[in-house]
């Protein structure tokens, strides 16, 4: 048995080590960073982003890319808010119906996304970007530019009611994360994602219905975008046509920082979790230590590069696109 830790092990654990180094770094500069309350704040900010990152991880593992999350989250948030208000506006009456409705709608939107990509043979980059624009446009059309407020105290309890220091929405995100991990590791669909990502021709030759798995992947991602939308509405109490803004950058960055390889076949939802936490810790930490705002963007970029460098096994990459 070799006494040296293999390079592979290091790259696998690098993202988690980066996360711990960052937490230590910020705590040394401002000890208030390392408190349960602050971790709860990071968790609240990261919960919607985690759902989007998990959804896009499935797509990236397949070897494709999904850029529709901004429009999808905006449209899903608006659909959820309208459905919730339509069914009585409170969880006490029929308002809870809005949740399965939006999950189905999100999955349907992702399904259309996948069909456009697979059936019309449009590269996933273009197809999903276009669907994202359609989503944003539909959200603007439906809201007319206005904000839709969701004021129900029971629903907002997702944010205000805490258990062991963390609000319920964090547990909701955690529950869906466990579901995603189950799908990834213990279902045929999940294994097929990796098969396609690792070698599409091989998978096809082995009898995997690549087209069907692709479409199913996009639909699954769409469902997770719907969960993210519900969490966004829970967090800020309103749905608007810009609810999905900024999610594209943060989700794909988180996935890559956490160790999901953009060329497919490598990584999974736990990598997405670590990546989202890294980005969340950086964003929160920079304000907590009092870094001037004009340096923050630059610092975020530098830290992201360092994290990706550490978590990529560069010798295994033949060429970088």
């Amino acid at each position: 048995m070799s006494r040296h830790i293999s390079r592979q092990t290091i790259t696998r654990w690098a993202p988690l080590m980066v996360l711990m180094v960052l937490v230590g770094f910020f705590t040394v500069i401002n000890p208030d960073f390392f408190s349960l309350r602050n971790f709860a704040r990071i968790a609240i900010a990261s919960a919607p982003a985690l759902m989007v990152a998990v959804g896009v991880t499935f797509i990236i593992v397949m070897g494709s890319i999904d850029l529709s999350m901004e429009g999808a989250v905006s449209l899903n948030a608006v659909v959820f808010a309208f459905a919730f208000l339509h069914f009585g506006g409170t969880l006490n009456s029929w308002g809870w119906l809005a949740l399965p409705i939006v999950l189905a709608f999100g999955a349907g939107f992702g399904l259309v996304n996948g069909l456009v990509h697979v059936k019309l043979r449009i590269p996933s980059f273009m197809a999903s970007l276009a669907m994202g624009f359609i989503g944003t446009g539909a959200a603007i059309l439906v809201t007319g530019g206005n904000i839709v407020k969701v004021d129900d105290d029971l629903f907002r309890g997702l944010l205000t009611y805490r258990y062991l220091g963390f609000p319920l929405m964090v547990y909701m995100a955690g529950g869906f994360l466990l579901l995603a991990a189950f799908i990834q590791s213990y279902t045929r669909l999940g294994r097929n994602f990796y098969a396609i990502g690792g070698g599409e021709e091989l998978a096809h030759a082995s009898g995997v219905n690549v087209q069907r798995v692709r479409v199913a992947g996009f639909a699954l991602a769409g469902m997770f975008y719907a969960v993210a939308a519900v969490l966004v509405v829970a967090r800020i109490g309103q749905a608007e046509s810009v609810s999905g803004a900024n999610f594209m950058f943060i989700s794909i960055t988180s996935a890559v920082v956490g160790g999901v390889a953009l060329w497919g076949g490598v990584g999974g939802v736990w990598n997405a979790l670590v990546g989202v936490l890294i980005v969340g810790v950086i964003n929160n930490g920079m304000v907590v230590i009092g870094l001037p705002d004009f340096i923050q963007s630059g610092m975020l970029g530098v830290l992201v590069i360092i994290a990706v460098v550490l978590s990529t096994d560069r010798r295994a990459v033949a060429f970088v696109k």
């Binding site: 704040r41 907002r156 967090r235 800020i236 046509s241 609810s243 964003n283 929160n284 705002d293």
Partner: protein
Amino acid sequence: MSTFIKDFIEREKVSRRNFMLATAAGVTTAAMPGLFGSGVANAALTDPALAWSYRDRASAYWNAIVSGGETFVESLGKTKADMTSLINEGSSEKSLSDIKSFLAKNSGNCAIACDANDSPNARPVAEAVKAAGGYVSTIWNKSDDLHPWDIGNNYVCHLSWSGVKPSEEAARALFKKMGGKGGVVHVGGIPANIPAIERLQGLMNALKDFPEIELLDVQPADWDTQKAAALMSSFITRFGDKITGVHCANDNMAYGVIEAFKAEGITGVPITAFDGNPEAVEMVINGELLATVFTNPMWGGGIALALAHHAAIGTFVPSEEPNEHREFYGPSVVISTDDVKEFKARFMDATPTYDWNDFWGQSAGAIVYN
């Protein structure tokens, strides 16, 4: 022996005489328009096509601007569809190219109102409209060295709203509510935007008179609700109970700040905002917000288009107007708990009517550069 190659070379050589004649003809053609002066641009247009160029409809503010433009168009006896919306989604390049397409489609017979999206883009827009013979008035974004009177009649006017004074007034109301002491944080807009810079400046001006109030930190949240919620959470980690007041650069971010406090179970911290959106006014009424600032975007949207239209059809000649009619501030009203009910009755429950021929009646003075 075939002389094909020799003939071919002879034909391909441009004879020097032909070359000189062709150049002379080309230069003369290019110079022709300039020889006759810029007479085309000053002719009055008939029934110019109307357009509003703006970022998007995803906020109550821009919705009000657009509805102001539509109200003006309806006052001319036309329908809402007669006002074209040129939506630039926050891209200066798209803003410019949309306007150029609109000018080309209508052969320059246009009256356009435009928010150029960022200051440097105002000049290309004004010059493109002038070159096509149309008329444009701009709002909000313009570089300091660009003036309508330097471009000519085609650049009718620039309308802006001073963020400094009203933001300063809101800050003073905030400090009074804080009892003259404590810690305040500023949640700012996109740092390169002029409104963000001005509203922060207003806070800094007010701070000079309150030495016992400490400015804890200033960070941008890019006019976004979710970013503001995350930023406020981080502020609470860093400063905790030291925060006794929050100064926000717009209403959307204030909503995020309120949610961040709600998540922590913190109540009673006064917050000021800016924009005067209907939701924000309701929040001032029920005490969640201390104050906001109303800039009457409906009037602004209508009057910018009205000015471009009337300059185009010759109702007035811009070059004969004084400078303060070509660069002026719109009205800003600070709404706080004392006057909010009256404001709501006048501006929200009843749709106000405006005299679109009274161009400068609500002007708050000439634009000042410092």
